[in-house]
């Protein structure tokens, strides 16, 4: 298959999956198609020579977002309709006009891939030429992310961190905390909250799904998880040399824990996860970035000015440490997302699950 044919096929698949997501009425089906969309998009990123973005898209879009969406769907209603597909023609028309309007602006942009385009001059050439030598890091994307534009990345870690804490604040109202619902954990900040479920069996023989964990799943996961975790660490540590970096690595490491949770039981995994460790990596990651930044200022330089540190290859180490810090926080927060949204509020064994079908209008 020629490169052009491949490209057009992928782009066509992209539009197709996006369109399907739009017209499928059932939310769960639409979400699954969205996951496929995200995977196709990762392939498109690779085609556009953006491996870092592809990694992130696959891990985050097809991975984290899909899991969170499915978890939310599982806990809320799933209106199923008689019609499988539907289109709202008036909305489509309005948006269509809008889209055509945008398309008319496209000719005034440089052609795609044009090497004389402004995007390949100025900043583009500067980073490509200077970054490897000045930062000692071959992955130029990582170099920009963690050095030249480190302040943006700092802001981004803060967003991630804030979202995790924010989710906890939002969910507080219904008594959801991160604490597992049974077990010997100490009281939380709010002694007045009732645990939302009780699991009389609690321990390792049954999962909170109310049945025995399948031998196949647990064995498979037991073998797979170490490799997944290792791969995640590899991506995080090696992001300076090859494609990858803190974000992607952090998500994959978190994914390995999520895998354990799916196989062995969400509540039991939550109990197994040491609270102190979780807090340490989540807060520690961001704090490390702040510390590196402030340390540079204490030494007389600017915020995050690595070259001020009196060690050889300061910039390279600075970049790698910052990436690790990011990875740590991302791991922690993705686990916060997961356990806050997926854990808790599990139906106790024996009760009917909360899904019910509704008539949709």
């Amino acid at each position: 298959m020629s490169a052009l044919a491949l490209e057009l096929t992928l782009l066509g698949l992209l539009v197709l999956t996006a369109a399907l997501t739009a017209v499928i009425r059932d939310v769960l089906a639409a979400t699954v198609v969205f996951a496929v969309y995200s995977l196709v998009l990762s392939l498109v990123w690779i085609l556009l020579r953006a491996p870092d973005v592809a990694l992130t898209e696959a891990a985050v879009g097809a991975g984290v977002v899909t899991v969170l969406l499915v978890a939310t769907i599982a806990k809320t209603s799933r209106p199923t309709d008689h019609a499988e597909l539907s289109v709202r023609w008036p909305s489509l028309a309005v948006i269509g006009v809008f889209a055509v309007g945008i398309v008319t602006t496209l000719p005034s942009l440089p052609a795609i891939g044009d090497p004389t385009a402004p995007i390949h001059q100025h900043l583009g050439t500067y980073y490509l030429e200077t970054a490897p030598a000045e930062t000692g890091v071959s992955n130029i994307v990582t170099a920009i992310l963690a050095a030249y534009r480190a302040f943006d990345t700092f802001g981004e870690v803060v967003v991630v961190f804030g979202a995790g804490i924010g989710l906890l604040v939002v969910l507080r109202q219904s008594g959801i905390t991160l604490q597992p619902t049974t077990g010997s954990t100490p009281s939380t900040t709010d002694p007045g909250l009732e645990p939302s479920t009780t699991d009389p069996h609690g321990e390792s023989s049954t999962t909170d799904l109310g049945r025995e964990p399948s031998v196949i799943t647990t064995t498979a996961i037991r073998y797979i998880v170490p490799f997944v975790a290792l791969f995640g660490l590899y991506i995080a540590f090696h992001g300076a040399k090859t494609a990858g970096g803190g974000f992607q690595g952090g998500v994959v490491v978190a994914a390995s824990v999520v895998l354990v949770a799916f196989g062995f039981g969400i509540e039991s995994t939550r109990r197994w996860l040491n609270d102190t460790v979780l807090t340490a990596i989540t807060a520690g990651g961001v704090a490390a970035v702040v510390a590196i930044g402030l340390g540079a200022m204490a030494l007389g330089g600017r915020f995050l000015e690595y070259t001020v540190y009196p060690i050889p290859k300061a910039t390279t180490y600075g970049i790698e440490l910052v990436e690790l810090g990011i990875g740590a926080t991302v791991t922690g927060i993705v686990l916060v997302f997961f356990f806050a949204l997926v854990g808790n509020a599990e139906t106790p064994p024996g009760e009917s699950s909360p899904t019910h079908t509704e008539e949709s209008k």
């Binding site: 945008i102 602006t105 000719p107 005034s108 942009l109 440089p110 385009a117 402004p118 995007i119 390949h120 001059q121 100025h122 900043l123 583009g124 500067y126 980073y127 200077t130 050095a147 030249y148 534009r149 480190a150 302040f151 943006d152 802001g155 981004e156 803060v158 967003v159 961190f161 804030g162 979202a163 804490i165 924010g166 989710l167 906890l168 604040v169 939002v170 507080r172 109202q173 100490p186 009281s187 939380t188 900040t189 709010d190 609270d275 807090t279 807060a283 961001v286 704090a287 702040v290 930044g293 402030l294 200022m297 330089g301 600017r302 915020f303 995050l304 000015e305 690595y306 070259t307 001020v308």
Partner: protein
Amino acid sequence: MSNLLVLLVVVPILAAIVSAVGGFRGRHDGWTIATGALLVTVGLSTAVASTVSRTGRISYAVGGYVPPYGIELVADSLSVLLCVVTATVSLGALLFMRRESHSNHFYTVYLLLIAGVFGLGITGDLFTMYVFFEITGLAAYVLVASGRGGAAIYAAFKYLLVGTIGATFYLFGVGYLYIVTGALNMADIAGRLGGMYGSPAVIAAALFIVVGLAVKIPLFPVHTWLPDAHSKAPPSASAVISALVTAAAAYALIRVLFDVFTIEFLTATPLIQTVLVTLAAGSVLLGTTVAARQQSVKRMLAYSTVSQFGLVVIGISIANTTALTGSVIHLAGHAVMKAGLFLAAGAIASSFGATTVDEYAGLGQRAPILSAAFMVLALAMVGIPPGVGFFGKWYIVLGAVQAEAWPVAVVIFLSTLLTLGYFVGLLERIYFGTPTVSKPTAATDGGTSPPQAESDVDTWKLAVVLVAAVGAVGLGFVSTPVAGFLEPVIEGMVR
């Protein structure tokens, strides 16, 4: 010395992390941590302000990488004004919350919001602005959601959706700019944009960015998320969001229009100004008329924000020195006045259970000091001198007259009259109304006590509202020097 600039952002974030860790460990020291951090930022912003007044514009290259290869933080008199107002208003709202009990995590999010607003005020890079918009936005969505009841969550959800769509449109616009200039630094883009003003890509960029910011300011017709969000949030959150997040968005609009696109582009593309002034006039009229019909005081205040920012954007779109000065003064003054009003409403609601216009009847006797403060703030908001609201509006109207934009001047006059109408109506209830039969208020004070005396109002809340009222008037007196302080920057923008 210019290191202080980055500390404005880093200190609240550091405090937020400390507060979060404390929260995980079951501590309840969030308020103390936050107050400490914000006190520091008050000091920092004042120090930066004095430096800027002595030496002019400061530039700070984060990481030591020279802009535009690295990220640049910039402080001129405009940013400094926003920062000082942010620091003081957020500290005030925090002190107001002294006796309320919130988790450490709540204070973490509060601190992140303030850090975000500071970041918006000092960034010189368009993409960094996007990141900080998201920090601020996320924190704001969460704070709204922490209000009581499902209605707050729904309001927060709508705010989240609309806010994220707006931020994405903003990003889309930045994308266009980046593609045609290859730059992200504001000054850099401005330098490279010349000669491309007619290009559809540049116009598209301007429109998308304006739409994105219009969502956050907010501007008619994408303002619909605001009344619910601001009225359902807890009082301190409403105060801070209505005062600061809106101001930061308007500030961003000024920066982008005049420092990135420049006045030459605006003159070459009258479409932008026409769109802005029309939407802004719509905001003013709609905000005022709907506010007048509200029973809930908080919703009235929320719609008032819409109309006030309509005024601010009118000043921006007129784009002469006088009008722009008025917009800046108004967005700063509004922050103090609106925060004060929301806090006062919060104090009244929690101590007296009064949330609607009718329930405010007779408040003048039961709560003389609180009512007086409310009156001062309300009249300042209407535009009665010497309140700061007068000066902002006056400059804007003057600017409109100078630009011979008569319809605009008429709109402003009409709205002022209408605002006067509903605020005076409220004040009349407060002072001359007969108290209605006491309603047990289950939601606010957790008990069923009838309206209490003013001595039961929390001292901290009373003090903060009083300071706000004094500030609203005091700022009026310093409006002229402040205008002088801003003049070099604003002149530079519109010439």
